[in-house]
């Protein structure tokens, strides 16, 4: 137990690509996050149930095998349904299929309710910084209140 921020990782759908997922786990742990890694073949329900039990601040969804768009549809709605709606959603991996430009894919995922979307060659250091900033913006106030209460 610690006051680290909990984030959830997992590769969504029927996707078995496990290498990147392991790297992300090591990386975000070393960046000071409490990482709950659900591994490969993770359903939307599993992401959200885990978010409820762990009080996570963010879900980082990976999709490598080309079906990311279908698999990710409705995740934000499920979060709202289950009452974890302020949670931050990121998506990354091989989200682009064929020759579609990345910006078009990014736009689609943002419409689905993802806060940020990343290409496979993204600099992870930069992702960690954005994540800290987003957590501060979304949850900073609530956290301050909590700290005041416990004083």
């Amino acid at each position: 137990m610690s006051d680290k921020d909990t984030i959830i990782l997992g590769v969504i759908g029927a996707d078995c690509h496990s290498v990147g997922n392991k790297i992300l786990e090591l990386f975000f742990t070393s960046e000071g996050f409490k990482v709950v890694n659900l591994g490969v073949m993770v359903s939307q329900q599993e992401f959200v149930d885990t978010a409820i039990e762990t009080n996570a601040k963010a879900i980082l969804v990976s999709s490598l095998y080309g079906h990311g768009e279908i698999d990710c549809q409705g995740l934000r709605e499920l979060c709202i349904e289950k009452g974890v709606d302020p949670i931050i959603l990121y998506a990354g991996g091989n989200l682009v299929v064929g020759k579609t430009p990345f910006s078009v894919v990014e736009e689609k995922f943002k419409k689905m309710g993802f806060d940020r979307v990343f290409p496979p060659d993204v600099d992870l250091k930069q992702v960690a910084n954005l994540l800290r900033k987003d957590i501060q913006e979304k949850f900073g106030q609530a956290r301050q209140k909590e700290e005041e209460r416990s004083l």
Binding site: T6, V36, M41, T50, E53, N55, A56
Partner: protein, 474 residues
């Protein structure tokens, strides 16, 4: 040579066995039974003890004490009723139920997320012996837990509340419920998917000893014989847990007890074998597990069984060429007279169908399953729940199965269940069937703590083979 007595105070019968221990060999000398004396459990206990020790009925305590070591268990007055509270149904609530059942309790109701006013009314009406309150990983959710703590505080509930949720708010939860008896223990699920039910089980056991025993007038026996009782199902579970350690051939086993009111299933086997093509989702269940089903029973619960098992029952009647109304007549007979025993050939087959139905649903709920997922490079299985495929031995115990059964009673429901919807159920694939012919498992379970090698050896020596190994194909 030492005399050892084991007695089980059941809800209808108090049963006992006299054993002798000679050169670290335990053997059964005789058994005795007497109807459970509901108003004063000690009376029936004394009767059975006197019979076992060849004393007359009116023998007094001092005459009985000192003759033999005495161990006992109790499931009188409906056993240990536990209400389980968790957060997400598949996660902490599932674990709370598992912990309650593996502690020998009966889950009388369970609640996910926030407790509503209706839930509380229900809880107050049910009057559980214990509330097992869980939810959240350590450092995880606090909102629901604090909310539920406030609701429980405002309730009229008087039973002890065992808190086994998020450690971060354990103190706050205890503070909020200062007006209740709160026992704080380790989190059932400290991390996602990590199962930690032992500490909660231990607390349930302590509460059972302190409160339940006292409340049911059993402290007299405890004082006199210096041995502490356990809930009957816990005794059986301890026996099942101990057997593989003394007999590696029995490393993977199941015991099933189809009773009048409930069906109990105990398993001891590794719940998940990691391979490249099988991915486990959700909880990794414990090696030793018990489930108990209150709607699966051959007498008292037959009215529920009729509802739960309708599909199985109807299909089976058709296969055997028996009219539905014959089953209905039989059901009304046994619901009116729970001691009724079948008299005709047909009634015996109806009785068999009911037993099969209990077994079918008990395995359905105890065993995990695989779902096939097609990925472009082939099939992958997603496993949820416990894998029972490697079970090598299935022991039928309890009133109905101990009396004798044909292999079909277990094999038929298992074969029917193997493909359930679009899932493949992880059921025993090649198991030898046995019966606990003298119904000794609960009695030997009481002796396992003190004499593990001797009690497990006698348990295995007293089972009788029903069939040789059968090879089944998926």
């Amino acid at each position: 040579m030492k005399k050892v007595v084991s007695i089980d105070i059941g809800s209808t019968w108090t049963k006992g066995g006299l054993f002798v221990l000679d050169d670290s060999r335990l053997s059964l000398v005789k058994k005795a039974a007497y109807p459970t004396t509901q108003n004063n459990l000690v009376q029936g206990f004394t009767r059975v003890l006197a019979k076992l020790l060849d004393k007359d009925d009116q023998a007094s305590w001092p005459q009985l004490a000192g003759e033999a070591e005495v161990y006992f268990s109790s499931s009188a007055k409906g056993g240990l009723g536990i209400a389980a509270i968790g957060l997400v149904p598949d996660l902490t609530l599932n674990l709370a139920r598992l912990a309650a059942m593996s502690a020998g309790g009966k889950v009388i109701s369970s609640f996910a997320f926030s407790l509503t006013r209706k839930d509380l009314t229900e809880l107050e009406r049910l009057q559980p012996d214990i509330i097992l309150f869980s939810g959240g990983t350590d450092g995880g959710n606090t909102k629901y837990l604090l909310e539920n703590a406030h609701r429980l505080k405002d309730s009229k509930l008087i039973c002890p509340i065992i808190y086994a949720g998020n450690r971060s708010v354990a103190e706050d939860v205890a503070d909020i419920m200062q007006n209740k008896e709160v026992i704080v223990t380790e989190n059932l699920m400290p991390e996602i998917g990590q199962v930690n039910i032992e500490p909660a089980r231990e607390k349930i056991r302590e509460v059972f000893l302190k409160r339940i025993i006292h409340g049911r007038g059993l402290s007299e026996i405890v004082d006199l014989f210096g041995s502490q009782p356990r809930p009957t199902p816990l005794a059986v579970l301890e026996l099942i847990a101990a057997i593989p350690g003394f007999n590696p051939e029995w490393s993977d086993l199941v015991a099933i007890d189809v009773g009048g009111a409930t069906t109990d299933l105990y398993s001891n086997t590794e719940s998940y074998l990691e391979t490249d093509t099988v991915v486990l989702k959700g909880l990794r269940e414990p090696r030793v597990k018990r489930t108990v089903e209150g709607d699966l029973g051959m007498r008292v619960s037959a009215c529920y069984l009729k509802e739960t098992g309708r599909a199985y029952i109807e299909e089976r009647l058709q296969e055997m060429g028996i009219e539905i109304n014959q089953m209905e007549n039989f059901l009304s007979k046994i619901s009116m007279d729970s001691g009724y025993l079948p008299t005709t050939e047909t009634e015996m087959r109806l009785e068999q169908i009911l037993a099969e139905t209990c077994i079918y649903y008990a395995f359905l709920r105890h065993a995990g399953s695989w779902k096939e997922v097609y990925t472009p490079q082939g099939k992958v299985y997603v496993q949820t729940g416990k894998d029972l495929r490697r079970i090598r031995s299935i022991v039928g115990s309890g009133g109905f199965l101990s009396a004798g059964f044909s292999a079909e009673v277990i094999n038929h429901p298992l074969d029917k269940l193997r493909h359930y919807g679009n899932e493949y159920k992880l059921l025993p694939e090649k198991a030898i069937l046995y019966r606990d012919k003298d119904y000794l498992f609960p009695l030997l379970g009481n002796l396992v703590e003190k004499y593990p090698a001797e009690a497990t050896a006698l348990a295995l020596a007293s089972v009788e083979i029903i069939n040789e190994e059968v090879e089944r194909h998926a």
